[in-house]
Symmetry: C2
Subunit: 212 residues, 2 copies
DNA sequence: TTGCGTCTTCAACAGTTGTTGAATACGATG
DNA sequence: CATCGTATTCAACAACTGTTGAAGACGCAA
C-alpha cells in the first residue's frame, strides 16, 4: 500500500512519533508498528535508538538550510553594496518554511514540530541544534549586525532568541491558540503565523536594536 | 540534612527532573533517589506518575497567576478609565517572573523550565496549559484588546502567541544563546531576557495591531 | 543451478519500568 | 500502657524496554 522503502517508512514513522511524544515518549515497537515493519529492522538500518533519532533530525536539515541560505544570499545581493533590510533578512529566515508546508507533505510539518521539541528542550537543545544549525544562524546574525550597525551585539542575540522562540512555539502546533481564539486562529496555518510573525519580529528588532 | 518533609522533597526532585528530561525521560526511581526517599512513597502521596506530574505543575501555578493578575489589575487601575498601555500589560505579564527568580529559589527556575516543556509540547501543550492558565490569559487578552481598539482579534492572538513563544524559549534555558553569543548572553539571566523581550514584544504588538 | 551480499524476520535476552500489598515504624490520643 | 491513623519501607509482580544473534528470504551475478 505504500510505495516507499521500509527504511524510509521507519524514518517517516519515527519523525511523526518523536515529534508528537519526544524521544523518551516513543518506543521502537510503536515506530515499527506505525511503519508496518519488524522491530529489529530499525536496529539494522540505524543502530541504536539515539542514532535513529539523530538520523531523523538530520534528514531534512540540509535541504532546509540550503533554502534559507539561498534566500539570505539573494536578499543580500539585491541590496548590495548596502545592507539588506531587517525585513528581508527575517523573510529569508521564515519564508522557506512555508514552502516546506505548501508541498502538502505532512512529513515536513512533523519535522518542524520535531525541531520545536529539540530546540525547546533543556536536554537536547544545545546538544543537537548547534551541530546542524549554528553555522546557518551565524550567517543570519552577521547579516542582522550589518543591517543594524548601531546595535550592540547583545541586543541582537536577545532579539534573535525572541524570534527563535516565537518560531519554535508555532512549529510545535500545540493547538493552544486554536482554543484561546475560539477557532479564529489555527496553529496548523503556518502561512498565517508567518504573516503575523514577520512584521512583529521586524518591529521588535528595529526598536530594540536602534536605541543603543 | 534537609528540613523539608519527604513529600515536599519528592515534589522538588520531580520538578527539577521533569523540567530537565520531560515526563517520559524520568523514572520514579530517579525521583526517589534524588529526593532520598523510597520508591513507593511517591505512589503513596500522589498516586500514579501522571498525578505526580500534575501535582508538580499545579503547585506553583496559583501563586504565579495571582501575582500576574495583581500586576494587571494595578496597571488597569492606574490608567482607568483609559486603557493601559501595551507596555504596562506586557510588564504585568512578565515582571512577576523575575521576582520568582530573584528569590534565589532554584525551584522556581525549574518550574518555569517545566512550563516551557509543557507549553511547547505537542502532546501536553493544550492538554495541561488550558486548565491552569487560560483564565489568566483571557484577562490579558481582554486588556490588550482594550489597549489596541483598532486591531482585529486575529492579530492580537497571533501576537500573543509570539510573546508566549519568546517567553517559553527563555524559560527553557537551553543554553543555546550562550553558545551563539560566545558567552555574551546567559540563558539563565531572566532579568536581562525580560529587559530585551518587553520592548521587543511591545513594538511587535503596536505595529501589527495598529495597521488593520 | 550455485553462490553471495543485502534486507528482513523471528525468538529471546537481561534489565528496567510503574505499581501494588503486606509489613513496619512513628506519633499523637485515649 | 494500648490504640489508631498516618507515614514509610520492603519485596515483589507482570509488563515492557532496547538490543542482539541466528535464521530465513530476496535479488542479482556467475
Amino acid at each position: 500500500m505504500n510505495a516507499t522503502s521500509k527504511r524510509d517508512r521507519i524514518l517517516d514513522a519515527a519523525e511523526a512519533l518523536f515529534a508528537a511524544r519526544g524521544f523518551d515518549g516513543v518506543t521502537l515497537r510503536q515506530i515499527a508498528t506505525a511503519a508496518n515493519v519488524d522491530v529489529a529492522l530499525a536496529n539494522y538500518h540505524f543502530g541504536k535508538k539515539l542514532a535513529l533519532f539523530e538520523a531523523v533530525f538530520k534528514r531534512r536539515a540540509t535541504e532546509l538550510n540550503e533554502a534559507r541560505l539561498l534566500a539570505l544570499r539573494e536578499a543580500c545581493a539585491e541590496a548590495a553594496p548596502a545592507a539588506p533590510s531587517v525585513e528581508a533578512i527575517v523573510e529569508a529566515f521564515l519564508r522557506p518554511l512555508e514552502m516546506a508546508q505548501e508541498t502538502g507533505d505532512e512529513g515536513w510539518a512533523n519535522y518542524l514540530t520535531l525541531i520545536a521539541y529539540i530546540n525547546n528542550s533543556a536536554y537536547w537543545g544545545s546538544r543537537m541544534m548547534s551541530e546542524l544549525f549554528d553555522e546557518l544562524v551565524g550567517e543570519f546574525i552577521a547579516a542582522l549586525k550589518f543591517a543594524l550597525p548601531h546595535s550592540s551585539d547583545e541586543a541582537i542575540y536577545w532579539c534573535f532568541q525572541n524570534l527563535s522562540g516565537a518560531l519554535t512555539l508555532t512549529f510545535a502546533r500545540t493547538g493552544r491558540i486554536d482554543k484561546l481564539s475560539g477557532g479564529l486562529c489555527k496553529s496548523t496555518d503556518l502561512r498565517m503565523a508567518c504573516d503575523h510573525m514577520i512584521p512583529f519580529v521586524v518591529a521588535g528588532f528595529e526598536r530594540v536594536c536602534n536605541s543603543r
